[in-house]
Symmetry: C2
Subunit: 345 residues, 2 copies
């Protein structure tokens, strides 16, 4: 290869050490690349931005739509496709999608069967989805929504953030919609999956926000933050780094207490990397979660281990438990074909 030195970035244009063109085109450039990577699966629309299944709208099928700030990839755009989301609205980095995006995505993807919104419990997301819903209701569309609030870091449910359960609710609602059930049934099963889920996160380092070129908080060499949010929100407890077995025991105990998970209960576990954590570490965390379940005689029916809902380049992970019943398990196992989750097809 040539030894020509790569030219320098124009002064002022490099504010953060990332593989980007400029901080203000990150979302736009990434969406263009995403569109090129999955041409048969999704269509990426611009201004307003949304991603929709290539085969939408599907007659007699409830549309399942989600959205949220960018920076959590593959969520949500990576979950658009058969058996999961009909459409997703990516906002700016860590910023809610606008009502315009939600309306445009809905009009392209919804049939007369109606639309179910999956909304993470953040004030901005809730407000913008509500604005869109009000408009659609005046137009006579059938609309329902489920708010995901699974992060146990906040003591009050009203304040709980949406975390890993979002993926699980999207998968389960998408499977129900694919089977052709009604909007009311889709909403019921999505809400049940949400109620049966709890998450908790731990960060080893903060993420770097492109436009700010700085970390969202700082952790010492042996410090971890428990209960962090996926936008770099400071957690509720700073602790010293411990061996994973000990850390997982603490986190799983907290999840089980909150969920009321008991001996004989069946569960799905999602071990989610926040961005910069190696897959080996995620498997080590999962190994300890599986041991914890075995010790407590909780039946670990299914698992998902990988980067499913990141926080840019944060190091750390979240653990989600969803208590399963036969129907939730069947919907989880149903075929799915999206950029980030694929089985059975």
């Amino acid at each position: 290869m040539s030894d020509t030195v790569v030219a320098q970035m124009a002064p002022g244009s490099a504010q953060v050490k990332m593989l980007i063109n400029a901080a203000d085109t990150v979302v736009s450039d990434a969406l263009e690349g995403f569109a090129q990577a999955y041409p048969g699966m999704v269509r990426v629309m611009r201004d307003p931005d949304y991603v929709v299944r290539a085969d939408a709208p599907l007659p007699q099928r409830v549309a399942i739509i989600s959205g949220g700030g960018s920076g959590h990839e593959p969520m949500h755009v990576g979950y658009v496709g058969r058996g999961m989301l009909t459409a997703a609205c990516p906002g700016a980095i860590f910023t809610s999608p606008t009502p315009d995006q939600i309306l445009a995505a809905t009009r392209v993807s919804a049939s007369q069967a109606g639309v179910l919104y999956i909304i993470k419990n953040y004030a901005g997301d809730r407000m913008n989805f509500e604005i869109a819903i009000e408009t659609l209701l005046t137009e006579g569309m059938s609309v329902a929504s489920v708010v995901v609030a699974d992060d146990i870091a906040s003591p009050s449910r009203d304040l709980r953030r949406g975390a890993g359960a979002t993926i699980i609710v999207e998968k389960i609602a998408g499977a129900a919609a694919e089977m052709g059930v009604s909007l009311a049934e889709c909403a019921e099963v999505a809400r049940r999956a949400e109620r049966q889920s709890r998450s908790v996160g731990v960060a080893l380092s903060a993420c770097t926000i492109p436009a700010l070129a700085r970390s969202s908080f700082h952790l010492g060499d042996d410090e971890i933050e428990i209960g962090i949010g996926i936008h770099g929100e400071v957690g509720r407890q700073r602790a010293t780094l411990a061996p994973v077995a000990q850390l997982v025991d603490h986190l799983c105990g907290a999840l089980a207490d909150d969920l009321g998970l008991r001996e004989g209960d069946r569960t799905l576990a999602l071990i989610n990397g926040l961005g910069a954590t190696t897959r080996m570490e995620l498997y080590i965390v999962f190994c300890e979660v599986a041991r914890w379940c075995a010790t407590r005689r909780v039946v670990l029916e299914r698992s998902l281990v990988g980067n499913y809902m990141t926080s840019l380049d944060m190091a750390g992970c979240t653990i989600t438990f969803t208590r399963l019943d036969d129907e939730l398990l069947q919907l989880w196992d149903a075929p799915v074909c999206t950029p980030a989750l694929r089985w059975g097809v």
Copy 2:
């Protein structure tokens, strides 16, 4: 959740800030977790360590076996399954698997159709696979091998390291084996895929090796390293961070020159994250690679964008081009069902 502070790690046991139990049990604990995550797909054997398809050995099918140091997950263990590897041998971190591992994996997974080894071009890997091959030949087994040496960072082919093409060769050889072709035909198609592939990498930061608890090299705030190896080998050129469009133009130009990629040629592009790089960045890199192909009238037939061959927590990516013909494309598209790559099933 409880506010109990997580107990401190025992003095001396925490050498690196990772989600692990101890530096010396990283590979072992991760393999245990991996085994629990994919029980229907793979069997994980210990002492010596290897991962084998749950349904091996397959009569009348060539066994496809690879291996290499751990720390590159999902490679290789994540590629064991239908349509790809029959078995994989994970060494210690950044350390070749031993001949014992290779022999044990081979004896469990090979039928009379023989075995094809896919070996990355590192001295240790080559030596240990050669030792195993000599033993197996004396036992009368049919053996062939392909050495992957696609990283253009080294000027001489003998010294070229195995990089992203390894994944592509494993996929293509695995598809051929699944179709029931002979060992000679599997080896031919694997060697052709290897010859038609070139890779180059760029690092924005070095990786942290658990047992050393330090970075393999240091980069300044605006420095990047072009031509890095996946074990933290220093690259052949240090440059200043540039916008991705400019960087990709430089890297794709170097790949195309070396491969002799011309207008009208058909190619597969693999944009591989090295561990800590966000998926948005990988899509931005891919967006520019797709633009580069369009400008040069190179036909971008297929792509793969994600973390497929990491270097622990290194930030950066590798780009691989594989020139496709009809047969290579058909084998690439064939069904695959492994923990890390799944389509068509």
